[in-house]
C-alpha cells in the first residue's frame, strides 16, 4: 500500500514519480549494503549479547554512512545531507587527502601534491 501513497501524492502535487523513486533508491541501496555486511559479520561472530550488539551497531553505522557517501560521490556530489556531513567532518577530508595522495602520487595525477584533496575535488566539481 505504500507505493499507492506516493503515486497519489505525485499525482496531486505534480511531482514526477521518477523523482520520488530516485530519492528513495539511494538510502534503500545503502540499507541493503548494511544488511549484507552486518548479516555477514553476525554469521562469523561466535558470541552473542551486548558485545556483538555493540559491534553490529558500530559496523552498521559505519557501513551505512560509507555506502551513502560512496553513492553520493558517484552521483556527482549533489546538495543534501551528505554534503553537510562532508563539510562538517574535517577528519573525513583528512583521511581522503591522505588516501588520495598516496594513490595519485604513484599515478602521475594532475592533482598537485601540495594541494589538499578536498580543495582539488571542490575545484573539479
Amino acid at each position: 500500500m505504500t507505493p499507492t501513497l506516493f503515486f497519489t501524492l505525485a499525482k496531486a502535487l505534480e511531482i514526477p514519480i521518477r523523482e520520488i523513486l530516485m530519492t528513495l533508491v539511494w538510502p534503500i541501496i545503502s540499507g541493503l549494503v548494511m544488511a549484507a555486511v552486518v548479516g555477514g559479520a553476525n554469521s562469523v561472530i561466535p558470541f552473542h549479547g551486548p558485545p556483538r550488539l555493540a559491534i553490529d551497531i558500530a559496523l552498521g553505522g559505519l557501513t551505512f554512512t560509507s555506502a551513502m557517501m560512496a553513492l553520493w560521490f558517484l552521483r556527482g556530489r549533489p546538495a543534501g545531507p551528505e554534503a553537510q556531513f562532508w563539510q562538517r567532518l574535517p577528519i573525513v577530508s583528512v583521511v581522503v587527502d591522505v588516501a588520495a595522495r598516496s594513490v595519485t602520487q604513484t599515478q602521475n595525477s594532475p592533482w598537485p601534491a601540495t594541494e589538499p584533496a578536498s580543495q582539488w575535488l571542490k575545484q573539479r566539481a
Binding site: 500500500m1 505534480e14 545531507p81
Partner: protein, 151 residues
C-alpha cells in the same frame, strides 16, 4: 497482545523519535510554499530523502540486531518477542517513511485525499491482517502479514 505491544514499542521507538520532528516541521514549511510548485517539490523531495535515510537506517538496523537488543533491553523473559522484531521494525520503517505524504497533502489543502488514503490503508491492513490473525492465531504471522500489507 502484551508481547506484540512490547515488541512494537521497542522496535518503533528509535524510528519514531527521529522521524516525528521531521514530519512535524514539514507541515508549516509546505504551507508557506504551497503556491510555488517548484519550491514545493524541492522541499518535499528533500524531506523525503531525510525521512528515507532515517527510516531505512533505523528499521534495517533494528531488524539486524533485534535478537541482541531484546536480550539487552527487555531481558531473558521476553525471548518470545524476538521473531516479531524484524517484521515490526521493517513495517514501521515503511509507515514512517511514507508518513510525510499525509502532511504534504494536508498542508496543500488536500485533506480529503489524505483522509481517503488513511482509510484505504486501514481497510487494506484489516483485510489482510484480520484473516491471518483469525486463521493462524500466531503473532509472528500477524507481524509478517502487517509488513506485506504495507509493501
Amino acid at each position: 497482545m502484551g508481547r506484540y505491544s512490547v515488541a512494537y514499542d521497542v522496535t518503533t521507538l528509535p524510528s519514531e523519535e527521529l522521524i516525528n520532528p521531521v514530519v512535524t516541521a514539514l507541515f508549516p514549511v509546505m504551507v508557506k510554499v504551497q503556491r510555488d510548485p517548484v519550491k514545493r517539490t524541492e522541499i518535499y523531495l528533500s524531506v523525503l530523502y531525510w525521512s528515507a535515510l532515517l527510516c531505512v537506517s533505523t528499521s534495517v538496523g533494528i531488524c539486524l540486531v533485534g535478537d541482541d537488543m531484546v536480550d539487552l533491553v527487555l531481558g531473558p523473559k521476553w525471548v518470545d518477542v524476538k521473531p516479531l522484531v524484524p517484521w515490526l521494525a521493517l513495517s514501521f520503517g515503511l509507515v514512517a517513511m511514507s508518513s510525510n505524504v499525509y502532511a504534504a497533502l494536508d498542508s496543500t489543502g488536500r485533506a480529503s485525499t489524505s483522509a481517503g488514503l488513511q482509510w484505504i490503508r486501514l481497510i487494506g491492513l484489516a483485510a489482510i491482517v484480520l484473516p491471518v490473525a483469525y486463521y493462524f492465531k500466531d503473532l509472528e504471522k500477524i507481524a509478517m502479514s502487517r509488513f506485506w500489507a504495507l509493501c
